[in-house]
Symmetry: C2
Subunit: 229 residues, 2 copies
């Protein structure tokens, strides 16, 4: 928002400020509904001056999206310490923080709308997915993933995205529940794949060997056995 105080900014500083202002507006409403006039007003500068720094709304949108993508990818960083389930749980909390902060913009982007879906925006989304994929493999300590593990990890990432989108549509389930559920979903999808494949069974055994007996996975297993009986 404008502070009312006008002072000269350098080019890079001004660009950064505009990106920040635009990202906030694009996060709170569908980007289609945000005008350059609004961005100019929120930044406390004139409309022509916005065009001086960005040739059009799409380029400003892409710059804002790039910053958001870097922000999200940064939240995937997690120390390689402690049980895997707890690590993933912390990442899921930061992922939902991000989704919460950028709700309407995240929905519009991921559902594909008129102002989005360019090859540049698709490349940014793919880069974030790839960052998530690389992080998970590094925590699993796998360098050269078999095809079935790649499938489990990548399809789970898409499950996490759709879970977040469904959550945003009405927020009818507490997000903390979904953060835990996605950790469990990861284990469940890996276990299903491992049930019919020896290589995946090895991955899953290594995954759960350091899980504490009172941790999330053990609790889930006990509850599933109760459910089945």
């Amino acid at each position: 928002m404008s502070t009312g105080v006008r002072r000269r900014m350098g080019v890079e500083e001004r660009r950064k400020q505009l990106i920040g202002v635009a990202l906030e507006l694009f996060s709170q409403r569908s980007p289609d509904e945000v005008s350059i006039d609004e961005i100019a007003a929120a930044a406390g500068i004139s409309r022509p001056l916005v065009y001086h720094y960005f040739p059009g709304k799409l380029s400003l949108y892409e710059a804002a999206l790039k910053r958001a993508a870097q922000d999200l990818a940064g939240r995937f960083d997690e120390p390689h310490e402690g049980p895997l389930g707890d690590r993933l749980r912390r990442v899921m909390r930061r992922f939902f923080d991000f989704v919460d902060e950028h709700g309407p913009g995240f929905s519009a982007l991921m559902r594909g709308g008129p102002a989005v879906g360019s090859s540049a925006t698709n490349a940014l989304i793919d880069a974030v997915r790839q960052a998530a994929y690389v992080q998970i493999l590094s925590h699993l300590e796998v360098d050269d993933p078999p095809a079935r593990l790649e499938l489990v990890v990548r399809s789970w990432i898409s499950l996490a995205e759709s879970t977040a989108l469904i959550w945003l549509d009405g927020r009818r389930i507490p997000r903390a529940e979904l953060e835990v559920q996605l950790v469990h979903d990861f284990a469940a999808l890996a276990a299903v794949s491992a049930a019919y494949d020896e290589e995946m069974a090895g991955v899953v055994r290594r995954m759960i060997k350091d899980e504490p007996p009172d941790g999330a996975f053990a609790d889930l297993a006990a509850r599933l056995i109760t459910l089945a009986s």
Copy 2:
């Protein structure tokens, strides 16, 4: 492909023929790579005549996509007879048939490319997802789904899409294995949700009560217990 035989077709017949020819070309290569000239040649008519029936490539693409969407939604129809796991297995086989037949076009569409992602194409994709959702609820005999069941069904539909897309990228896992795996994934995601929610537990108990003791779910459960021990 052109038969070489020229005869006069009625307007609707010609439109249908063009849609069929275009769908075949859009299925085999990314739609961006298919030209109107090619479509005209394959239909055995002149380029201006194509434009007589469709104002541009996008309108022909959307018409082809509409036919493909109706085709796919039709494959979700399944008699309400026998164990649920077997029913879903048959639908998964038909889903992978469709994905197999339309591979490159399906990938280009679902990954979002320059020629796709219009609001009309997004509406068609959403309509197919909704058809899948309605079918699943009808087989579960649920009229008014609780939020957690809606989440499981919708997020599993997205998992099925991403599994198919990953399969198309190299086909490194036999599709029959993935058809079974997706049936198991559905049960696993429902079970994870049911582990912490009484209402979902009721849904899952009804889901598995008619499963045969030598069926897919019982086999999976036995294998998971082996894996965990």
